[in-house]
Amino acid sequence: MAPIARLLLLMLLSAALSISSGSGDGFSINGRVRIPQGLGTKGFALPGKTSNVKVILNGGQIVTYLRPDGYFSFQNIPAGTHLIEVAAIGYFFSPVRVDVSARNPGKVQAALTENRRGLSELVLEPLKDEQYYEIREPFSIMNVVKSPMGLMMGFMVVVVFLMPKLVENMDPEEMRRAQEEMRSQGVPSLASLLPGGGRN
């Protein structure tokens, strides 16, 4: 029972992959590129515009374009393992490995090479859309505050306004003690602040 089921599955797969033995000297690979509508709305290629999408076999051996419905086909392909790449501005497509078997023309496989995911049918979808430009962040107060200038200003504000307040709130006796302590220790040298200065 199990082998039969596997055979059935295999047949189903091959039918969906639509790699057929063409007339004459080779096979043909038929597939489809589908760009989901959700993607690419802020991209550079207009959504659904497929006229500039190229489908490339084996690094430039054959280049073809898409029909309006997204289908493409390669003819006269010899048996073997092939690589299909899709070049579309604004989208990142994984190359696809396609095996065309000569011995039994039905047995074929396709898999994305980026994540090794097998494809049951040759429908190529972008893995992600590509944003070629940095996006300018809108003006906000937080950005100014976070910038080095802003931090400097913030520190100055703290020193100018909060420090006197702290000094004022201090107990006068405690203050006197602290001052005396400092006098007895001497002025802290710069060296003691540096790393390694503590060692000597």
């Binding site: 043909s28 010899p78 073997g80 393992t81 070049a87 579309a88 501005i89 980026e114 944003q131």
Partner: protein
């Protein structure tokens, strides 16, 4: 410790930022420019319907099909076919589809005329290869379907115009049948296929266009044979030449009856001598033959009678016939006469009257007219007007109308062979004084706008104003040298033997020059441009001289054809001189020596292994003799897998004995076994690359010394089976070997084999590392590997005491003959895309970190930090390595969309990437060329040595003013407070 960790944090913070080159969308066009071309036009079809925009569809030799605006010459849309998918024919079907036939007639595609979307694609198969013809009859209907008739692969196909279905097919089995014309007489349902079989047989097939049924097949024999070109003079008559090229044959096949008429050319033209050729055309009643630079127009007057109508010595170009009204056909004839071209539009049956006769002044640098296409329009007074599209010798495309050049396109730039750069003239006092800022108010206004822009307060109009202000800034397109070295001239040699100088600021053409010395002549039949070299770069001694470049070319396609040298001034584009060589040029070696006028010495090696020195001056000879024994070079013989090293021996002996010719001697050779290895790539370092330091400080204060030698050669070989395309071999029978070879001694310093790998290999060599890209058949992904080579002999120089006491070997002479102690480190990573070209950024002093520039299959250029290709990367870097900025190892290289230097643009058919250092250390100039051109500036480690273009000077000023004001205010306040305290 805290400070240390803080520093570490900062470092990590910056290193995480730095790989991103990042460009804001409104910065496009600020530093970069992009130009789109199509190549030399092969065929043009006009689409001038009353509705819609007027356009012309062209197919080119770069396998481009494009729709151009007839008013301005701009590209509406454009598609580039694969490199072996040459376009055989184009036409317009049903007024809304562009039909293209390509790949030797096996692929028929239909494109939507307004937007260039492919509508259908059809594959035509047949028994054999043959010439292919595309015919789109205007009103041939088969079952309500408009049909396209295609002859290709030895069969005649009728294809539906709507969906590309093959309606019927007729194969021509006859083995030797060579089709010459496929004719569909207007208004009839018949198709005639005529051609030659064997060498002396004329064949005619008459076919019913509705169903492909063969109605009649006739053949006739003409004993002395035919030349292959024919000219169609009416729908049932063709003119051919006999095999000697001296007798004209008028072949008529009216009603399926073949009849010959012979006319010796000498009967028509007394001075005739030597063979003639037919200029292929299809003008009814008229044809042209060419003999000994004389072109003769001959009219056919019924029943095979011929009559000479005109003889001309000028080079001519004839268009096809254009039906203008009922029964009338017009054609355009262009004669080149020196600096002018004479355009005549005539009616096909009336030679003597001209519908139009114009003389147009033509730029001499465009050469001769090669092709003419004619189109007509109806003027307001109902008379006919004509516009003519011409293709020139330099591949440019021009539209002529009413005696004027309406627009022109420099499409020669689509086929660049070689690129070099040249400095611009220095800015001299009084020559071009820097313009004082127009007015303070304008300046302030500009900066206020910019401020608004950065604070995101600008309205869309303001944004547009900022954009245009930035683009207009004249600073970048000045014709003088600038302080930062951003402004240069790109000197470009195209396949049309034309030199262009492009300004790096905005990409405009500064001058262009068609090389006269490479003109077709008796001595030099088909000259081909090969290479460009910098001949003279005035630096210190010869400041008053203009820089010049050396153009090397040869007469003819075979590699042993004699060479031609031309020297071109890069400021003016004038050809200073040219030399026709008696020997061929197999290899050119620019030597690192210059004479007193800063002319660089070049050594030209011919195929007999003689070396010729240029320039041929005694001074050059003296310099050369001094360095005679220090000159080594190598040659790669790819076909038999041998790499040889050579050295100079003595002056030429034998009859070639001259002062500037030298015999050479083979020093070493590396022979690769031909049954297991085939050389597919060799790469060396760029000659002008600057290396900042030999030492590389690695984590834990250790130092490694880079093995830096100008004489390293990277060679990649593959199994002979695996030299084909991806997918042609199994992993078991393919491997790739990478070698590092010293080209002075022939010593193999390193060899590594990648099993299950396959070409094509693209590699780049810089400093002490090489990066190469190949295909891994086991994982079925592309891979990139890096090899770094380090010098071990100086590894023990780390001890300070040794340096102090002088016990180091830093001053010991480096000789390539001593066995180098080197170690190599390498690592491999997956890379997603196929690659068309790889380059590396180069900067003036070599301090700035490097980026790889990878031209991907999608015709984009990706910048990838060299840090990603560091063989010391590991999965878990130690704390020290992290501090150094090492990236944890990943199995594949990241593709960050923001680091595409071409951002959202494509450089169609990318062929090469050139990087040139600017004077500013942080910046490198990048020029990518293919059918399109793209130029930009890159700062691989950001512009650390200058303020960026969008630095806000106004904000700085305002801050300073505000601070000063604050000081005054607080001073006053504190004074007042003090006073109050005193009063208290």
């Amino acid at each position: 410790m805290a400070i240390r960790s803080f520093l570490l944090f900062l470092l990590c913070f910056y290193s995480s930022l730095s790989p991103v080159l990042s460009l804001y969308e409104d910065q496009v066009g600020l530093m970069d420019w992009h130009q789109q071309y199509i190549g030399k036009v092969k065929q043009a079809v006009f689409s001038t319907q009353k509705t819609g925009r007027r356009r012309v569809i062209v197919s080119t030799e770069e396998n481009v099909i494009a729709s151009l605006d007839l008013r301005h010459g701009e590209i509406f849309w454009r598609h580039l076919f694969g490199s072996n998918d040459a376009i055989d024919g184009i036409d317009i079907g049903l007024g809304k589809y562009v039909i293209t036939l390509s790949s030797g007639g096996s692929i028929l595609r239909s494109w939507n005329l307004p937007d260039g979307q492919m509508v259908w694609e059809s594959f035509l198969q047949g028994p054999k290869h043959s010439k292919s013809f595309l015919l789109v009859p205007t009103n041939m209907k088969i079952e309500k379907d408009n049909a396209i008739v295609v002859f290709s692969n030895g069969g005649l196909h009728a294809v539906s115009c709507i969906d590309g279905e093959v309606l019927w097919k007729k194969d021509f089995e006859a083995e030797s049948f060579e089709v010459q014309k496929v004719i569909n007489p207007p208004g009839s349902d018949l198709i005639y296929v005529v051609g030659f079989a064997a060498s002396s047989q004329f064949e005619m097939y008459q076919i019913n266009a509705r169903n492909g049924e063969l109605l009649k097949h006739e053949s006739a024999t003409f004993s002395s044979g035919f030349l292959r070109e024919v000219s169609l003079v009416s729908s049932d008559t063709i003119v051919a030449l006999d095999s000697t090229g001296s007798i004209l044959l008028t072949i008529s096949f009216q009603n399926g009856e073949i009849s010959f008429q012979q006319t010796p050319i000498s009967n028509l033209y007394e001075e005739f001598s030597g063979p003639a050729v037919i200029i292929p055309s299809s003008v009814p009643g008229i044809f042209a033959i060419k003999t000994n630079a004389v072109t003769i127009f001959i009219r056919v007057i019924g029943e095979g009678k011929l009559e000479v109508v005109e003889k001309t010595n000028h080079e001519i170009a004839v268009s096809d016939a254009l039906p203008i009204s009922e029964g009338q056909q017009a054609f355009a004839l262009i004669q080149n006469a020196g600096s002018e071209i004479h355009l005549a539009v005539k009616l096909a049956h009336d030679w003597d009257t001209n519908l139009l006769k114009e003389s147009i002044k033509m730029d001499q640098q465009r050469g001769l007219v090669h092709k003419v296409f004619i189109n007509n329009y109806i003027r307001t007074d109902r008379s006919h007007g004509f516009r003519v599209l011409i293709v020139m010798e330099d591949h440019s495309l021009l539209l002529l109308q009413q005696g004027l050049i309406v627009w022109s396109r420099e499409d020669g730039l689509a086929s660049i062979i070689d690129v070099t750069t040249s400095e611009l003239p220095l800015e001299r006092d009084g020559v071009s004084v820097a313009k004082v800022e127009h007015s303070l108010f304008e300046w302030l206004k500009g900066h206020m706008l910019k401020l608004k822009g950065t604070l995101m307060l600008a309205s869309p109009e303001d944004v547009a104003a900022i954009q245009s202000m930035r683009l207009k800034s004249s600073e970048k397109s000045k014709m003088t040298r600038d302080h930062n070295g951003f402004r240069k001239l790109l000197i470009v040699l195209t396949r049309a033997r034309k030199l262009f100088a492009l300004h790096t600021g905005d990409g405009r053409i500064v001058w262009s020059h068609l090389l006269r010395s490479l003109h077709k002549s008796e001595a030099c039949l088909s000259p081909i441009g090969l290479n460009l070299y910098q001949w003279q770069v005035p630096h210190h001694h010869a400041m008053d001289e203009n820089p010049s470049v050396l153009v090397i070319s040869r007469c003819g396609p075979s590699s042993d054809a004699p060479g031609v040298l031309s020297f071109v001034d890069t400021y003016t584009g004038k050809e200073l001189s040219s030399v026709s060589l008696s020997h061929d040029v197999a290899q050119v070696i620019p030597l690192p020596y210059t004479d007193s006028t800063e002319q660089r010495l070049h050594l030209l090696i011919d195929s007999d292994k003689h070396a010729h020195l240029y320039p041929k001056t005694s001074e050059a000879l003296n310099i050369f003799k001094h360095e005679f024994s220090n000159i080594y070079w190598y040659s790669v013989e790819g076909h038999n897998g041998i790499i040889k090293g050579h050295v100079l021996k003595c002056k030429c002996t034998g009859d070639m004995a001259k002062d500037f010719c030298f015999d050479t001697r083979e020093l070493w050779s590396v022979v690769f076994p031909s049954d297991s290895e085939k050389i597919i790539a060799t790469v060396t370092r760029k000659l002008n690359e600057v290396v900042h330091t030999q030492a590389k400080v690695i984590a834990d204060q250790d130092v490694m010394y880079k093995y830096i030698s100008k004489n390293l050669l990277f060679v990649a070989t593959v199994a002979p089976k695996g030299s084909g395309e991806v997918g042609s071999v199994t992993p078991e029978e393919s491997w790739l070997a990478a070698y590092l070879i010293d080209t002075v001694t022939g010593r193999i310093l390193h060899r590594v084999t990648h099993h299950g790998a396959q070409g094509p290999v693209h590699a780049v060599f810089s400093e002490n590392w090489v990066v190469y890209h190949y295909f891994n058949l086991r994982a079925h992904r592309y891979e990139m590997s890096v090899i770094e080579i380090y010098d071990q002999s100086r590894a023990d120089n780390k001890d300070v005491w040794k340096l102090v006491l002088g016990k180091h070997n830093l001053t010991s002479p480096i000789s390539l003959f001593s066995r180098p102690e080197v170690i190599t480190k390498s690592q491999s990573y997956f890379f997603t895309h196929s690659v068309k070209a790889i380059a590396v950024t180069s900067t003036a002093k070599g301090i700035t970190s490097k980026q790889l520039l990878i031209g991907t299959i999608g015709d984009q250029v990706l910048a990838l930090d060299k840090r990603f290709l560091d063989p010391r990367r590991s999965v878990n870097p130690t704390q020290a390595e992290k501090e150094e900025g090492m990236i944890p190892l990943t199995d594949s290289l990241p593709i960050i969309p923001q680091s595409y230097v071409t951002h959202a643009l494509r450089v169609e058919c990318l062929r090469g990437i050139l990087t040139v250092p600017a004077k500013l250390e942080s910046t490198t100039l990048v020029f990518a060329h293919g059918v399109d051109l793209f130029f930009t500036q890159l700062a691989p480690s950001r512009t650390y040595d200058s303020l960026t273009e969008d630095f806000n000077y106004a904000l700085l000023l305002i801050t300073i003013v505000a601070l000063v004001a604050a000081i005054f205010v607080t001073w006053r306040l504190s004074e007042r407070k003090e006073l109050q305290d005193k009063w208290r």
